[in-house]
């Protein structure tokens, strides 16, 4: 076996060298006539979102002729590597995709993100509690335009085939549902364990159901998991894995690529359920030729755990937003205000690819299942951001890895907690 490329050993070094060299001119993109060009990096690299953001920019330019846009639509996974490199350079994008949480806190700590607290104070309340996920130390550093929650997407026809009439409300009922589906020859749950984060959704939901909201908040902000409820979460997850609800060879299944991915299995009727985010219908529709997919899909929230301290209406979620970089002109904030105005948010909701956050835009979501997710979000007492986003990135990834090991039978519940604690100690 031969690879003649010598590059990979030096990949990181080369990337960082480019960072150090990169970026020529500094700063203001304002031309002599007062025209300003905003560079905008977003992750809507496919339609409908790509065309939608273009339209939003065009509309804004129409009403503000002095503001022009240079848009780059970047594939979601590439942001991980592109953003730190760009922020390190002298010429970062003015507006960029922001998921909030610990990742954003890293950027804030380095002084690369604009403090929007004052500039947004007059309108940020129109987003309700959603804006909290984009705050660090009480200051607003980003603005969300979509906030979704994770839950079970299921195939109604397969549930019917197995004689299941009601969605499981408790984990015991979920286990009974799994048995019924297996008896009917149906794979109960599809999971994309290769990507690790789908495993984490399960473990985190078990933590949400076992721990009180206060414990969750203090544990994640203090980076301490000393409450036994986190151990219980691991034990519950182990119990679920032991029931063997997943497809054959699930440890190597990708979450979203191809018909053999977990989303593809659900989309093609090869599995009955998948625990996934609000984006799943959009992902699934690209993986199947079934035009009636949406009418077959249902959604129910993660069931409760008997004896757990967590409330049933606490949900795991996260969303998409935008930040302005430290060098962006003030027009950036005004544009973000426009992006989350009820008018633009209603148009966004009508795309049925996300869940708008502005008050008064809820009715724009027309898809009935997605509407159900939106209602569950509205009824929730607390939306916990995905753990790997909420805590510093290094800690979050260490947690995901440990949970993935647990699903592979290579880690115990206390090793998961220990992985989190050890990574937190490095911070």
């Amino acid at each position: 076996m031969i690879s003649v490329r010598k590059g990979s050993a030096l990949a990181v070094g080369a990337m960082l060298a480019l960072t150090a060299c990169g970026g020529g001119d500094s700063g203001d993109d304002r031309a002599g006539d007062g025209t300003v060009t905003l560079t905008w990096w977003h992750n809507g690299n496919t339609d409908p979102l790509k065309g939608f953001w273009q339209q939003v920019a065009d509309d804004y330019t129409a009403s503000h002729p002095k503001v022009k846009f240079k848009i780059e639509a970047i594939q979601n996974e590439q942001f991980q590597t592109k953003i730190p490199v760009a922020l390190q350079s002298n010429d970062p994008p003015d507006i960029f995709q922001q998921w909030g949480g610990g990742n954003m806190a890293d950027q804030v700590k380095s002084g690369k993100v604009m403090d929007l607290t004052e500039a947004s104070s007059s309108w940020i309340d129109s987003l309700g509690g959603s804006a909290a996920g984009w705050q660090t130390d009480g200051k607003q550093y980003g603005v969300p335009y979509s906030l979704g929650i994770v839950g079970f997407w299921y195939n109604k026809e397969l549930f019917q085939k197995a004689g299941i009439t009601a969605a499981p409300a408790t984990v015991d009922e979920l286990l009974a549902t799994i048995d019924k589906l297996k008896a009917a020859g149906v794979t109960p749950i599809a999971i994309g364990s290769k990507d690790r984060w789908p495993d984490a959704f399960f473990w985190e939901y078990f933590a949400l159901r076992n721990c009180s909201t206060d414990t969750l908040k203090s544990s994640l902000s203090g980076l301490k998991m000393d409450d036994p409820c986190f151990l219980k979460a691991g034990q519950d997850a182990q119990k679920l894995v032991a029931a063997q609800p997943f497809q054959k060879g699930f440890l190597a299944t990708p979450a979203q690529q191809g018909a053999g991915s977990s989303a593809g299995l659900l989309a093609n009727g090869k599995a009955a359920m998948e625990l996934q985010g609000h984006w799943n219908p959009g992902v699934m529709s690209a993986l199947t030729t079934d035009k009636n997919l949406n009418s077959k899909l249902g959604w129910f929230p993660f069931p409760t755990v008997s004896g757990g301290s967590g409330a049933a209406d606490v949900q795991l979620g996260g969303g998409d937003g935008f930040s302005c970089s430290y060098k962006a002109p003030p027009e950036c904030v005004d544009f973000l205000k426009y992006v989350v105005s009820p008018e633009v948010q209603s148009k966004f909701g009508a795309l049925n690819v996300g869940l708008p956050v502005a008050k008064g835009s809820e009715n724009s979501v027309s898809d009935p299942t997605l509407k159900g997710v939106l209602d569950a979000r509205g009824a929730s007492s607390y939306v916990q951001t995905y753990f790997d986003i909420a805590v510093p990135t290094a800690v979050g990834q260490a947690l995901n890895d440990a949970i993935a090991n647990l699903f592979a039978g290579k880690a115990t519940p206390d090793q998961v907690v220990k992985a989190f604690t050890d990574a937190a100690a490095q911070q």
Binding site: M1, I2, S3, V4, R5, K6, S8, A9, L10, A11, V12, G13, A14, L16, A17, A20, Q80, T81, P84, V85, L87, Q88, N103, D106, Q107, K109, S110, G111, K112, S193, K194, D195, R196, Q247, K248, G249, F250, L251, A252, T253, P254, Q257, G258, G260, P392, T393, A394, Q397, A398, D401, A404, N405, A408, G409, K410, A411, Q426
Partner: protein
């Protein structure tokens, strides 16, 4: 003073010195010309080498002594802590051993296989050209394409499992990528599929260089086919085999793309290599200082191996070409 002048005057009449005198101003000019020529021809390659090979290595070494998330200032100096953490992390050690397994399997299995196929394809047989193309074709595919194709074929009840079923070997079907005991060997098969064509082409080129007369002479002396292969072909193929081993081992040490796409180093780190570990920690965890330390360790391992191999194994092969040119 006086004596000096005398000597100068004396030498002024000397024909030898007189002959040298006019040449004196020309010497710096020629040297300057030489320097300019060297600069002109070396600068592009040298600047690329400095900018894209040496500088990144030095920068990585510099970053590796800091705790750095890649965004903020480099101000948290931690000394060799990143190296200590890397070397004591069982996941990194596992990754290193996986690299080692790939090296051993490549040299131990892939080489004999490639050698056998090359010897076969070197004979006059019908459809030889077509066979050579077929074996070489996978090498032309990008590693990413290869990985995606095989990822789909190796899914449970996918193409590979169906083939096993059809030929009556259904009982041997495994969870090729999901079983942590098997995944690394599955990956090795895919790597072999992809790179064996390159080994065969290289060995075929080596075989072309062996004069047919030698084998003919051996045959006349009564040597069997095996004997002439063992005692004539293989020794004369030595330089090719040694250079292939070098490329292969370096490639194994830096294995990344294929594994990253097919398994992300999983399940449960069972197929991590040093390079996937590096990307996982450097980029996914935003631990660029730590990732740089891993990069430096990887570089050191590859570099030490390369130097030792050149010094002890390739010395005979490169003696005529390289050493004489340097002198």
């Amino acid at each position: 003073m006086a004596s000096t002048r005398t000597v100068a005057g004396a030498s002024g009449t000397d024909t030898g010195t007189a002959g040298r005198a006019p040449a004196r101003p020309a010497a710096p000019r020629r040297r300057l010309r030489g320097v300019l020529e060297l600069t002109f021809f070396l600068a592009p390659a040298l600047s690329l080498y400095l900018g894209f090979v040496l500088l990144p290595i030095l920068l990585a070494a510099w970053y590796s002594v800091y705790d750095w998330n890649g965004i903020g200032p480099l101000d948290d100096f931690v000394g060799l802590e990143n190296y200590r953490r890397t070397l004591s992390d069982p996941v990194f050690r596992g990754a290193f051993w996986h690299n080692a397994i790939f090296v051993v399997l490549s040299v131990g299995l892939q080489l004999p296989l490639a050698l056998g196929l090359a010897l076969l394809l070197n004979r006059r047989l019908r459809g030889r050209g077509a066979l050579r193309s077929i074996f070489f074709a996978p090498y032309v595919l990008s590693e990413v394409t290869t990985a995606v194709i095989w990822l789909l074929m190796l899914q449970p009840e996918g193409f590979v499992d169906k083939v096993f079923d059809v030929v009556g070997l259904g009982g041997l079907v495994q969870l090729w990528l999901a079983d942590s005991k098997i995944v690394i060997y599955t990956l090795f098969v895919v790597i072999t599929w992809k790179y064996i064509g390159f080994a065969i082409i290289l060995l075929l080129a080596g075989l072309q260089g062996i004069p047919a007369e030698l084998r003919e002479a051996a045959a006349l002396d009564g040597a069997s086919a095996w004997q002439s292969t063992r005692h004539i072909t293989l020794p004369l193929l030595g330089p090719t085999i040694r250079i292939w081993c070098f490329l292969s081992i370096i490639g194994c040490l830096q294995l990344f793309d294929l594994i990253w796409i097919m398994t992300l180093g999983g399940p449960a780190n069972a197929s991590n290599t040093m390079a996937t570990y590096l990307i996982d920690h450097g980029f996914r965890r935003y631990e660029f200082g730590y990732g740089s330390a891993v990069a430096v360790i990887m570089f050191t391992i590859s570099f030490v191996f390369a130097v030792l191999y050149q010094r002890f194994v390739l010395r005979r092969d490169t003696e005529g070409a390289l050493t004489r040119m340097v002198r």
